[in-house]
């Protein structure tokens, strides 16, 4: 059976700090607004929703206790619509879509709302603890903070500070252009308060006034940690041929910390017919891959190869790529590895400009790709994200 994508919505992305617009909004509400929009735009009876599958990375505090189910209840979904919250770190949002697609394709489910949420301003990244970096695991795995991994990629692949800064600048330019030309209109739903006042209707992390000069002045964010606290040395245990790690990443060429949520409506052909929905695309291929957790961010490469190979496609068959801009060196690595033209990669701007609300980003990227394919009359897109712990995820969608 085929899994169809019927709709994709997202909130705008607010700065993920206490000065961000969405800081005053509960994450469950961000997600509930997306669930409401998917329901209302498509006139579905939520009693037919087999599951609400949501990605969320830091599942504690406001985001604890299975936020997917809570959001479904808050959004007034039928009590019969259950919910599950999953965590594949930065791949969670796309994992949710893939999971939904798998359930539909298998015939077990007919209609699933997938997506994700992350309020990074309210629930601090890493505040859920975990064993990944406790001493015993650390001594076994030797993982380092991901910024150092990103710098290691830049070092090994020869990306200079200028390369990553130029990439960041272009991300800002593209995101600014996307907003100017209203490319996100179909997906973005404003976040409003109890009285209907708009709290945020536009991505607020974008900095249209970014200059190369300005970026050049920013201090590398991980140099001190790497050099003074020996984390570079630890990384060099696994990469001993690297004499010095070149620290090139900073806040201006890494993904923005933001708040946001997204939802994607995935269903069978029959579900679409039931509610009179026109499918927009199919989920053609999904893949996961694992890679070395120290360099951590190379997962998109094997995941992409796997996703392509499964359906007999080649990199040249893809019209549009969304490669999550966790750090500039990740999409640069992707382009270098596959020889893909920059024009095809993140053409609407990426997380460096728009932000990366961890659990939601994958679903947002899928919506962005879908909108762009439709606007340009193109057919296929590949969405991929690097993931903590050294994983990668990729999804290929094709318009119908």
């Amino acid at each position: 059976m085929t899994a169809y994508i019927y709709d994709a919505v997202r909130t705008p992305r607010g700065r993920g700090k206490s000065n961000g617009s969405l800081y005053v909004v509960r994450p469950v509400d961000l997600l509930a607004r997306c669930l409401e929009a998917v329901r209302d735009r498509n006139h579905i009876d939520t009693a037919y929703v087999d599951d609400v599958v949501m990605g969320c990375v830091t599942q504690s505090g406001d985001q604890g206790q299975c936020i997917a189910r809570t959001a479904a209840l808050v959004a007034g979904y039928d009590l019969d619509a259950p919910g599950v919250t999953l965590n594949r770190f930065c791949g969670s949002g796309l994992e949710a879509v893939n999971h939904a697609a798998a359930m539909v394709a298998s015939g077990f489910h007919d209609l699933v709302v997938a997506g994700g949420v992350e309020s990074m301003s309210r629930v601090e990244m890493g505040s859920d603890g975990g064993a990944m970096m406790d001493p015993q695991t650390e001594l076994l795995l030797n993982t380092v903070p991901q910024g150092i991994s990103a710098d290691l990629i830049a070092t090994i692949r020869g990306f200079s500070r200028d390369d990553v800064d130029r990439f960041a600048l272009e991300s800002q330019r593209r995101a600014t252009n996307s907003w100017e030309h209203r490319f996100f209109d179909r997906s973005v739903i404003p976040v409003k308060d109890q009285s209907g006042l708009v709290i945020l209707d536009k991505d607020e992390h974008v900095r249209p006034d970014t200059t190369l000069e300005g970026l050049g002045k920013l201090k590398p964010a991980f140099e001190m940690l790497g050099k003074n606290f020996a984390l570079d040395d630890l990384a060099k245990k696994t990469y001993p041929e690297v004499e010095h790690i070149r620290h090139v990443h900073h806040a201006g060429n890494s993904s923005g910390i933001v708040d946001g949520a997204a939802a994607v409506l995935v269903g069978s052909k029959a579900a679409g017919e039931r509610f009179g929905m026109r499918p927009r695309a199919i989920v053609k291929s999904v893949a996961l891959a694992g890679a070395d957790p120290i360099i951590m961010l190379t997962g998109p490469l094997p995941a992409t190869r796997k996703a392509l190979a499964k359906v007999g496609m080649e990199i040249g068959d893809i019209d549009h790529f969304e490669v999550n801009e966790a750090f500039a060196s990740v999409p640069l690595m992707f382009m270098q590895e596959f020889g893909v033209d920059h024009a095809k990669v993140n053409p609407e701007g990426g997380a460096i400009a728009l932000g990366h609300p961890l659990g939601a980003t994958g679903a947002m990227l899928l919506g962005t790709a879908l909108d762009a394919l439709e606007r340009k009359g193109q057919s296929t897109a590949l969405i991929t994200l690097c993931i903590g712990g050294g994983m990668g995820i990729a999804t290929i969608i094709e318009r119908v």
């Binding site: 406790d134 015993q136 650390e138 001594l139 020996a230 040395d233 245990k237 041929e241 010095h244």
Partner: protein, 725 residues
């Protein structure tokens, strides 16, 4: 006053105050943690509790030290995990019963409290110490390959916080009482025993409900909370810093970090269990056996000069006035440490600027001695005569020659100045390689001519390699050993031969690194490999510091003394090329294997020009291969020194390699390193290296000595250097 006594404690109870005093008073003037101690403590606690009207307990010592920790003789043979676990579990139960006995307990640290001794103090409610830098406090367990096993990793973090506890426990360096107070490891300091005991009594009476913080319902961990992001970062960085320092060669330090973190998030008593499980893993390990053998048994034997010529009973070493010839860093350092020990010192040079630099060095060293009074400083410096003249030397009991490494210069200096020695005066050369017997040719009193090879920086390096020339007398050796003891150095006594012991082995280490580079192995990997096997200094970096110029000089000198032509060896060729054609003379000259940018302009980097001077990258390379080469070449040289009789005692191989040249400390030394791998396997590996070595024909670099082949053939206990622990 009621009294009671057992094999470990002298107990007394003062009915008026209701205070019981339990004094550790073990046989042999040293209180240590063993079964006698444990049984004694159980008995003492029970006795105290049986006293009617008991209001509190002072836990102190009848000896100089409070308690110096675990009895190593009982620890060393422990190999059975269950028995070891039961032992520490029992000990923890006793300490727990002390801190929960229902009355306040004060630890009276009138002397040093180390290891299990300090853990005992941690199980009291209040730690009072004497304000004396001679009182040492702390948890040095990791230096013997284990971790604190009687609650140290659980109580200390709960008292001083995870950051300080981590630093203290992972470094394994005891601190002086004032510093312990500053860190919160003791609560208060007192000028003497009487005031301390009076304060202890007062504190007991003022705090009748005292209990441990962790037994308080509202207990809060000192910030940062162990589950906080800050604490998580501290632990992550601790792992990284440890790796940077010693690679993964110190499993016991890793275990300490794990025990602290994993126990800190649990209820206290279960935290103790976590510690016990980590302790057992370390205590029964080969690492701890090898470290204990070398850092405890061998080091102590060396410090006591066991098996070496000794002065007669009551005999004085007869060294009061010392002259140091040459005011370089070594000479000036020597002058300083001698003056620091109360000797009268003459520091002589022929160059005014050098002499001034020597004085400056001494003044800088003096500035580091923060605990000295103004008078003590003045008198220390006043004991050194800085001079360009020879007259002040007259009457010296010891002259240590530290002039340039040139036998002609050394001969000339000996001829000129030896007559100025006092009647029984000793002439010592600080040469790092030139045979003492050869240098003694210029001496009129060869029985009092000796090699005293100090290591740089001499204020810090613990080893002194004493070299006997052919004619050096036992008496001269004995007097020099007494001098070594005065300086607080660890001695090894070796026989004469070019490079003696340490320089020979260290030379192979450095030259093998150069050889590897010449063969086309990545120099960055060479440095990494050395770290990963636990070598204290990376070879190319330290070669730059020693200076390539000196290494080059050493090669030429070695060829001259040994009559060997080594110029065909690729590593030797590379070194010669670097020095002779590219002026890569070493760090001091701004250019060696590394480029040295101006301060603040980035890190040192391998000189890019090196690539053009070496072979193409070999097929067989990588960290593991390179590390093997660096280690096997050293242990091979050690075996040769043993076979040739340069080493007169196996102990000196371990002590000399570890304390002199930074051979991987956790191995216990080169002989233990071979034992760990099996001598037969070592020989097989050496043969394999010989077969593949491009320079093998020219130098027989990898030829295994007969000594090793015989041991390999013998197998069993005869195939080992040390009995299996």
């Amino acid at each position: 006053m009621t009294t009671h006594k057992n094999a470990a404690f002298e107990c007394s109870f003062e009915a008026e105050s209701g205070i019981a005093t339990l004094l550790l008073a073990m046989e042999g003037k040293t209180n240590k943690v063993d079964r006698t101690f444990a049984e004694g403590l159980v008995d003492a606690i029970a006795w105290a509790k049986s006293q009617a009207g008991l209001k509190g307990v002072i836990l102190g010592t009848a000896h100089k030290n409070f308690c110096v920790g675990a009895d190593i003789d009982s620890l060393y043979p422990m190999r059975d995990p269950q028995a070891t676990f039961d032992y520490v579990k029992g000990l923890n139960g006793i300490f727990r019963s002390l801190e929960t006995m229902g009355v306040p307990v004060v630890g009276a640290l009138t002397g040093s409290a180390l290891g299990g001794g300090y853990e005992l103090a941690l199980a009291t409610h209040r730690r009072f110490a004497i304000d004396d830098p001679g009182v040492q406090i702390g948890l040095p367990e990791v230096s013997l390959g284990v971790i604190p096993g009687a609650g140290g990793t659980q109580r200390l973090p709960r008292i001083v916080g995870v950051q300080k506890a981590l630093e203290h426990i992972t470094q394994g360096q005891p601190v002086r009482a004032p510093k312990a107070k500053q860190l919160g490891m003791v609560d208060e300091l007192f000028p003497d025993r009487d005031t301390l005991y009076a304060a202890a009594k007062a504190w007991i009476l003022a705090n009748p409900k005292a209990k441990q913080p962790w037994d308080d319902k509202g207990f809060k961990f000192p910030a940062p909370a162990p589950t906080s992001q800050d604490a998580r970062n501290i632990f992550m960085v601790a792992c990284a810093m440890l790796y940077k320092k010693v690679g993964n060669t110190m499993p016991q330090v890793e275990a300490a970090i794990c025990a602290i973190q994993e126990g800190s998030v649990l209820e206290f008593e279960r935290g103790l269990e976590v510690e016990s499980r980590w302790f057992v893993k370390c205590a029964i390990s080969d690492t701890s056996k090898d470290m204990i053998r070398t850092f405890w048994y061998h080091r102590n034997a060396a410090l006591k000069a066991e098996g070496l010529p000794a002065l007669g009973a009551g005999e004085d070493m007869g060294i009061q006035k010392v002259t140091i010839l040459g005011a370089g860093m070594m000479g000036a350092g020597l002058a300083f440490i001698c003056a620091d020990k109360g000797l009268t010192v003459v520091l002589k040079d022929i160059n005014e600027a050098q002499l001034a630099a020597g004085r400056k060095h001494c003044e800088a060293e003096l500035a580091k001695k923060k605990h000295l009074s103004a008078e003590a400083r003045a008198s220390l410096l006043g004991r050194i005569t800085f001079t360009l003249e020879t007259a002040p030397i007259a009457g010296s009991d010891l002259i240590i020659e530290a002039v340039v490494e040139n036998d002609e210069v050394k001969h000339a200096v000996t001829r000129e100045l030896e007559p100025l020695l006092s009647a029984r005066g000793i002439w010592a050369s600080n040469t790092s390689a030139i045979p003492i017997t050869h240098l003694a040719k210029a001496s009129a009193k060869t029985d009092r001519f000796i090699g005293l090879h100090f290591f740089s920086p001499v204020e810090v390096m613990p080893l002194l390699e004493i070299i006997r020339g052919e004619a050096t007398s036992d008496e001269t050796v004995a007097r020099c050993l007494a001098f070594t003891k005065l300086l607080g150095k660890v001695p090894i006594v070796v026989n004469d031969g070019y490079g003696f012991f340490t320089s020979r082995v260290f030379g192979t280490y450095l030259m093998e690194a150069v050889q590897l580079v010449a063969e086309g192995h990545d120099p960055v990997l060479v440095e990494q490999a050395a770290k990963q096997v636990g070598m204290v200094v990376p070879p190319l970096k330290v070669f730059d510091e020693v200076t390539l110029k000196l290494g080059h000089h050493g090669i030429l000198q070695r060829e001259r003394y040994l009559g060997q032509n080594v110029s065909d060896i690729p590593g030797v060729k590379l070194l010669k090329t670097l020095v002779e054609q590219h002026q890569r003379l070493g760090k001091a000259h701004g250019a060696g294997f590394y480029d040295y940018p101006q301060a603040g302009a980035g890190e040192r980097r391998i000189w890019p020009g090196l690539a053009a001077l070496v072979a193409a990258k070999p097929a067989k390379t990588g960290i593991a291969y390179i590390a093997d080469r660096l280690m096997y070449i050293q242990v091979l040289e050690v075996a040769r020194c043993l076979e040739e009789g340069i080493l007169r005692d196996k102990r000196d191989a371990e002590v000399g390699a570890i304390f002199g040249i930074g051979f991987a400390p956790s191995s216990g030394g080169p002989l233990a390193w071979m034992d760990r791998r099996g001598v037969a396997n070592v020989v097989a590996k050496l043969d394999a290296f010989a077969a593949e070595d491009p320079a093998s024909a020219a130098s027989a670099r990898w030829k295994a000595p007969e000594l090793l082949r015989k041991m390999a053939a013998a197998g069993g206990e005869n195939g080992r250097f040390w009995p299996r622990a």
